[in-house]
């Protein structure tokens, strides 16, 4: 009888979701009248793991919130930390059950368009338009949070990936300056492996879209471009193919990346808490590691043995000298559609995302603020870890990773990770890339692979 049980389990959950949706509907309609009420508490969903310095920063923000808006002096602000890997499931559950959702949520900037078009975020256009400090926000990034002319989120901080390395290891391997071409990147990786036998030169996990796109762009290719309102996928242009092939060959022909990264993200198996290229880098088993500056706290948690030697450089382009465009990652803040206190939500966001608070936050975490005024300061060039990333931040791209169906293409259908995994398993290059290209074009245009 097990079949009925499993079928019924799905059925029951779905039925429950349906039943509570009706309740949720009532809740949100009655909440509009109370949107300016004073809440007893506000729930903020943050992504990732709790980091002490971020908690301290948030405590300061809440204090400011209470003084700046005396009417909320008794409002408690609760921060829930959501692991990145669980975010879509948790949003979905909060939306379907109508319960347990946040008032304010952080969103990856590639998530915002998709989540907004599913009806999970409140329209905050009127708040943003009357927000005096909002005019300083980098215009392109605010456009990313705009769906059909309505604003559903505000940019909070940005970040780019680069390549982490150890200064002392570079010196011992005779590398005088970080590589600026792919040829130099591979030869340096091999030199490091010779100097440190048993280590691998450069980690290339197959499930790592946000790094793979840099290699596509770094060869002059594009993932997809918009032509007269429709997406045209470009994974199989000669330039894009050169980037894809280079990344796969880090394992296949150059052997500078271990085979154990096939099917893994940069943090290891999906859902696992140990293993993965980040851990190997911190332990000294991997010489160069692709990730953003935000990885520092996780690397420190694994081992601080080599911390004083950590430094970064931008992902090189195929033939230099400028770096490859880095994916302009980052986080937004949005108001949850079922929140009863939208005015209070917005007031708290305006404190979290004030130019001074957002800049303090970004500086302390290795991110970049979203305000043009703050970006021009020289604070980033002084630290060895940050200087490489700061350089990379000058060359960024986001399209098509901010398109409405990107979350489906990448997080659900895993189109680029599946393609890279197949290539690393030795699948035929042309047919694998062509198939991925067709799927990508279909998903970007229709939301479905076929």
């Amino acid at each position: 009888m097990r079949f009925t049980r499993s079928a019924a389990a799905i059925g029951a959950t779905v039925a429950l979701a349906g039943a509570t949706a009706a309740i949720a509907g009532c809740g949100s309609s009655s909440s509009t009248g109370a949107s300016s009420a004073v809440p007893a508490k506000l729930v903020v969903w943050r992504m990732g793991g709790s980091v002490a310095s971020q908690v301290t920063w948030m405590d300061g923000v809440v204090k400011q919130f209470h003084t700046q808006f005396p009417q909320y002096k008794n409002t408690k602000v609760v921060v829930d930390w959501i692991p990145w890997g669980n975010r879509t499931t948790d949003w979905t559950n909060a939306l379907t059950s109508g319960k347990g959702g946040p008032d304010i949520t952080e969103l990856g900037n590639t998530d915002t368009p998709g989540i907004a078009s599913q009806g999970a975020l409140a329209n905050i256009s009127s708040y943003v338009k009357s927000w005096s400090e909002g005019s300083q926000i980098i215009a392109g990034n605010l456009a990313n949070d705009t769906v059909s002319g309505q604003i559903y989120g505000v940019p909070w901080f940005g970040g780019v990936r680069g390549i982490w390395y150890n200064k002392d290891q570079f010196a011992k391997a005779g590398i005088t300056s970080p590589p600026t071409t792919w040829a130099a990147l591979v030869s340096d990786a091999k030199a490091l492996m010779t100097a440190y036998p048993g280590s691998y030169g450069l980690g290339a996990p197959s499930d790592y879209t946000n790094a793979i796109v840099s290699f596509i762009w770094g060869a002059g290719g594009q993932v997809a471009v918009q032509q007269s309102g429709k997406w045209v996928a470009q994974l199989n242009t000669p330039a894009s193919e050169a980037g894809i092939k280079f990344y796969a060959d880090l394992l296949l022909t150059e052997h500078v990346s271990p085979a154990s990264y096939i099917g893994e993200t940069e943090l290891g198996t999906v859902g696992a808490t140990s293993g993965g290229s980040n851990e190997d880098f911190a332990l000294g088993k991997l010489d160069m590691y692709i990730d953003g500056p935000w990885a520092e706290s996780e690397l420190e948690a694994v081992s601080t043995k080599n911390e004083s030697q950590w430094a970064s450089f931008p992902i090189p382009s195929e033939s230099g000298p400028n770096p490859a465009p880095a994916f302009a990652g980052g986080s937004d803040l949005g108001v949850w559609v079922n929140s009863k206190y939208k005015q209070a939500d917005w007031d708290l966001i305006s404190v979290m995302d004030s130019p001074s608070n957002a800049t303090t936050f970004a500086n302390s975490q290795g991110f970049f603020p979203e305000f043009t005024s703050a970006l021009s300061s020289g604070v980033y060039t002084s630290s060895p870890v940050m200087s490489g990333f700061a350089k990379a931040a000058g060359y960024t791209q986001i399209s098509p990773l901010n398109s409405k169906n990107w979350a489906t293409a990448d997080a659900t259908d895993n189109i680029i990770p599946n393609m890279m995994k197949a290539l690393m398993q030795g699948a035929n290059f042309t047919t694998t890339v062509d198939t991925a290209n067709t799927e990508l074009q279909n998903v970007l245009n229709t939301g479905s692979e076929s």
């Binding site: 009888m1 097990r2 079949f3 009925t4 499993s6 079928a7 019924a8 799905i10 059925g11 029951a12 959950t13 779905v14 039925a15 979701a17 349906g18 949706a21 949720a24 509907g25 879509t88 499931t89 979905t92 939306l95 379907t96 998709g114 599913q118 009806g119 999970a120 499930d207 271990p258 085979a259 154990s260 990264y261 096939i262 099917g263 893994e264 993200t265 198996t269 999906v270 859902g271 696992a272 140990s274 293993g275 851990e279 559609v337 979350a407 489906t408 997080a411 659900t412 259908d413 895993n414 990770p417 599946n418 995994k421 197949a422 398993q425 479905s448 692979e449 076929s450």
Partner: protein, 334 residues
């Protein structure tokens, strides 16, 4: 019989005012004449099942013909009937066929292996002395009692390229024995479906054989020892004794075990969820595929999940029909 009917009927029709007595008698007669008593007794249970099983099943069936997703739940978009669209989408998805193939191949390998290993251990238990039999059966049942989640994590660690026992041992063996793969860096869980399901097959066999062994042992105890003795006196080898005496007598048990194993191995979810994970779509089996489509995808599609649940239920219904038929045949259900 009469007595039991009276007793069953009484709570349903409590003694009313004096005038109602003839009605009570008439109902009792009606129930008796149409042999309704067993059905009346089943009614409360059926009502319960209808509430928690049947109604959700009907809901699933309804959703499978709709475009039910997040915007429909929040009310941003109306629910629409989409006919067979969810079914055609599923049947046109190459991932569905890949996951079905993985599921079928997995069951085709693991079911016979489990049955053979279980039988061998069952035969062994039958011949061991009392103390040794207790030791072996306890050890086996511990494997059976280990929660699938703990067992999966245990196997994940054993096969991990980061210091796992299996990769460590394989890397130390000569190449002519284990091939030229770089075993020290071999990721069983994520590289591809074959290594992942090799690992899961070992895990599932390890956890499933004790049940087979104990059931076979129970069957063996029912075989009169004279039969075995007579065969042995006639000079039959143990192999011949098994195929000529033991197996024919245990055939009904094997039929049930076979069908149960097929159903269980088709349903593997916990192990594949933990070991293969949601990130590797080339390593999906049917349960993982359904879970992904219904809940883990963004945006989730409950309509698609409903259609898949129905298709999966249909496949297992065919197998279960065989199970019920064989159960009826050997009298287990009467």
């Amino acid at each position: 019989m009469t007595d039991s009917i009276q007793r069953a009927a009484r709570p349903l029709w409590p003694a009313g005012p004096p005038g109602s007595a003839p009605l009570r008698v008439r109902i009792a007669t009606f129930v008796r004449r149409h042999k309704l008593a067993p059905y009346l007794l089943l009614l409360p249970a059926l009502a319960g099942i209808a509430l928690v099983l049947l109604w959700p099943l009907i809901q699933v069936a309804l959703y499978s013909f709709q475009n039910y997703g997040l915007p429909q739940i929040t009310g941003a978009m109306p629910v629409q009937w989409v006919g067979l669209a969810n079914f055609t989408t599923t049947l046109h998805d190459p991932e569905f066929w890949l996951s079905l193939r993985t599921t079928v191949l997995f069951a085709a390998v693991v079911v016979p292996v489990t049955l053979v290993v279980g039988t061998i251990v069952g035969l062994l238990l039958n011949r061991l002395g009392k103390k040794m039999a207790i030791f072996v059966s306890t050890a086996a049942l511990l494997a059976w009692a280990t929660p699938p989640v703990s067992a999966s994590v245990l196997f994940y660690w054993m096969f991990s390229p980061d210091g796992g026992l299996v990769d460590w041992a394989l890397a130390r063996m000569p190449h002519w024995l284990v091939g030229s793969t770089d075993w020290a860096q071999f990721n069983w869980a994520t590289t591809s479906a074959l290594p992942a399901y090799t690992m899961i097959a070992l895990l599932v066999t390890w956890q499933a054989f004790p049940f087979i062994a104990v059931t076979v042992l129970a069957g063996l105890k029912t075989i009169p020892s004279e039969l075995n003795e007579a065969a042995r006196v006639d000079g039959a080898s143990p192999w011949r004794v098994f195929w000529r005496i033991t197996f024919p007598l245990l055939k009904p048990i094997y039929l049930v075990l076979l069908l149960l194993s097929v159903i269980w191995d088709f349903n593997i979810f916990t192990q594949s969820y933990i070991i293969a994970g949601l990130g590797n779509q080339d390593e999906y089996n049917l349960s993982l595929y359904i879970y992904d489509k219904a809940f883990a995808s963004f945006p989730p599609s409950y309509g698609l999940g409903g259609a898949l649940a129905l298709i999966f239920a249909l496949i297992l219904l065919v197998v279960t029909a065989g199970y019920v038929r064989s159960s009826v045949r050997q009298g287990a259900l009467t």
